[in-house]
């Protein structure tokens, strides 16, 4: 197992917080409530959470997070958060790859290396917090 004891508990707590954010923000398909715990089981095997869930008639949320333990603290080593439209295009995608320092207006990113790409490929600042991405997705969904 990649995680033991307290590490497993920390991973479960983090995944639970994502579940709470999602269920507070969206009305999700019933299957999701059964599928999400299986996705979290996979975290205990591979240290990676990955799932996709429809959040509206034409938007799908796809989240992938890779975890490591820094001393006793769970950290997200690499992530990819995606909002995908009905045509399969990335409407929004956030990641922490270290290849951007500025946004599309050449202003420094507020929380590098975290950033968001929009559907036109423009780079914007992003906090790196999955809960903020979910909140933004909710706002986007309500304005469509």
């Amino acid at each position: 197992m990649p995680f033991e004891g307290r590490q497993r508990a920390a991973a479960l707590d983090h995944c639970w917080s994502i579940y709470l954010s999602l269920t507070r923000a969206f009305i999700l398909p019933e299957e999701f409530h059964a599928e999400f715990p299986v996705a979290v089981e996979s975290v205990l095997i591979s240290a990676t959470l990955q799932f996709t869930v429809p959040i509206g008639s034409d938007l799908t949320l796809s989240l992938r997070e890779e975890y490591v333990f820094d001393r006793q603290r769970l950290t997200v080593n690499r992530y990819s958060y995606n909002l995908i439209d009905a045509a399969g295009n990335n409407f929004r995608r956030a990641d922490n790859l270290p290849f951007h320092r500025t946004d599309y207006r050449k202003r420094l990113l507020t929380h590098p290396p975290h950033h968001i790409h929009d559907q036109r490929g423009r780079v914007f600042s992003f906090s790196g917090d999955v809960h903020h991405f979910i909140a933004d997705a909710k706002t986007l969904l309500s304005t469509r």
Binding site: E30, P37, V40, E41, I45
Partner: protein, 94 residues
């Protein structure tokens, strides 16, 4: 018209119980990752080992498929290591 009730959110107790119930075996988790790796390999005509040696760590990684492929590849190794906790495998650890 009857209002549709949203599905009920599970409790944390139920969530922990479901996660720790052992529904997903390491074999199935590894199988799922192999399927995903093979999808990328077919799509880009490149073996995962070659992809991983060439793309991650370069700006080319900043593309959804490549980022997910790299994460999936590392996850696959971690899952293998959890199934076969052999020192031999540590040579291939990323």
């Amino acid at each position: 018209m009857a209002k549709r009730n949203p599905p009920q959110r599970m409790t944390k107790k139920k969530f922990v119980k479901m996660v720790t119930s052992g529904t997903l075996s390491a074999d199935r988790a590894i199988g799922n990752m192999v399927d995903e790796l093979q999808r990328y390999e077919r799509k880009y005509g490149m073996r995962s080992e070659v992809f991983y040696a060439l793309i991650p760590g370069t700006p080319a990684e900043d593309q959804p498929d490549f980022l997910n492929w790299a994460i999936c590849y590392r996850s696959y190794f971690r899952a293998l290591q959890s199934k076969f906790p052999l020192k031999e495998l540590s040579r291939y650890a990323i």
